[in-house]
Subunit: 286 residues, 2 copies
């Protein structure tokens, strides 16, 4: 989620406008590609693996910057192994895969890092990337297998919808900040506006995909509202979580892949917390 300014910020107004234009242009290039990947299970698995690869790469090259680059390269590869094997070969054995990837990465750290001052920092980066990026994003795989393309595309676009509405409401109406220490520019107007916009978006998405694409999503409005609230809450927490790590390392973005959007991890931070929660809620109430 992007910070929602109060709209009173006159310095840097031009650079904000420029950033917005850049965001829109690069979104128009990336969005169709990403949506197209939802056409089949193999391409969805490939998409998840690609996003894990890019965002964990950014993460390791930020957090382990002062170490041997091979550590970051091997760790990026190891962490990406999880969605690849989970999606392509062992859909029933995620636990076993996670354990093996964790143990292999730990043993690798022991063989590579000979300094007791920094070894725990290396485990930290590895364990967090494995759990936060690879494990959480891989919930798209069972989500797709169980609820289909339309529902998993809805989950992805929930995060986009909330981000956009929260940004728009926050920029235009944001007066009351609820500023977290780690991400101070959020406003209540952005938060509620984001949830409201997302609720409307779910109803429209359901109607459009059911009539045009013959998908079969039948959520009652209460579940749709619950999903919108969940999106708002967990997108916000996911964003603050990622901000706190960035601020610890003193960087503004984790990477610079998409102009105006920051790095890949900055783009998916909220999605990482949203996806497993939505999967669980669908399992319970849908």
């Amino acid at each position: 989620m992007q910070d929602q300014g109060t709209g009173k910020n006159s310095v840097g107004d031009n650079s904000l406008k420029r950033e917005t234009i850049q965001r829109v242009i690069s979104a128009f290039i990336v969005v169709p590609f990403v949506v197209f990947c939802f056409v089949s299970y193999p391409s969805l698995v490939g998409l998840v693996a690609t996003i894990v690869l890019i965002s964990s790469g950014e993460f390791f090259f930020t957090t382990l910057k002062k170490h041997d680059p091979w550590l970051s390269i091997i760790y990026t590869a190891l962490v990406t192994t999880y969605p690849v094997l989970y999606g392509a070969a062992f859909p029933n054995n995620p636990m076993e895969l996670l354990a093996v990837v964790f143990i292999v990465g730990s043993v690798f750290a022991l063989s590579r890092v000979k300094n007791r001052e920094i070894i725990t920092e290396v485990y930290f980066a590895y364990s967090v990337a494995l759990l936060y990026i690879s494990f959480l994003l891989s919930f798209f795989i069972p989500l797709y297998a169980k609820y289909g393309a339309a529902m998993s595309l809805l989950t992805l676009t929930l995060s986009w919808s909330y981000d956009s509405f929260a940004y728009a409401f926050g920029m235009t109406m944001g007066k009351h900040k609820f500023g977290s220490y780690y991400s101070p520019n959020k406003s209540w107007e952005g938060f509620y506006g984001g949830i409201f916009g997302t609720f409307v978006y779910i109803l429209i998405y359901q109607f459009v995909t059911n009539t045009v694409l013959k998908s079969n999503i039948h959520m009652n409005p209460l579940l749709a509202l619950a999903l919108a609230v969940i999106t708002g809450v967990f997108d916000t927490f996911g964003d603050i979580f990622e901000s706190s790590i960035k601020r610890h390392y003193g960087v503004k973005h984790m990477g610079n892949l998409m102009p105006g959007h920051g790095g890949m991890l900055d783009r998916i931070d909220g999605l990482l917390f949203i996806t497993p929660v939505i999967y669980i809620v669908l399992n319970l109430f849908y």
Copy 2:
């Protein structure tokens, strides 16, 4: 795994002897209790949860010593939630549980820690404890459910057997050290002796439980040898992994629960890496 001395160490010989006596006595108190817990599935789940509680408590109070003690207390409770809910209520939903416990713990850190210098240290401790202690030890739950009491008790005692044989061989014959940077006192004699002793132990265990306790374990000798080698390799790595964390924090033991044995985590460090690997190998070859 205990360090295997070279036997040439005359200073501290008395304290070594005293430690050995303490080890034996406290083992005679704890071992029957632990073995008794393998009598039923609920008591096994309770045992796993208790061990996770104690060892993650030691871990958090060591790694987060300079922080608010409530952080350690809540984190110990959260991490223990995983085996309890997994074993008692959701045997088919370990992934969902792990995701929820991770997200709840991350959000809790954000609400509790207002310092960008230390926040990643807190995530580190939480993610590692969750993966290393809680997640890996909880493989005893599916191991018990799928292969029964005798096989899961074998897994536990494999670690004990290897530790004892490696210690005995290392103390008496250990000449060639393969010293890791983090755990320098290991010898090749201890390693091979531990594997050999464990192989013999598996054959005896199988014979005794099949005839006396009417269990039904039928491993061919090749699988028994494979399990002994796996035990030796992963017990060693698990021990070095835990040592590297201890040495980073400058402590000799994580806790002081059992006189002569160090803390709980010092006791189970090898077991944590062994259990999931044995579960996977049994799934593949048994």
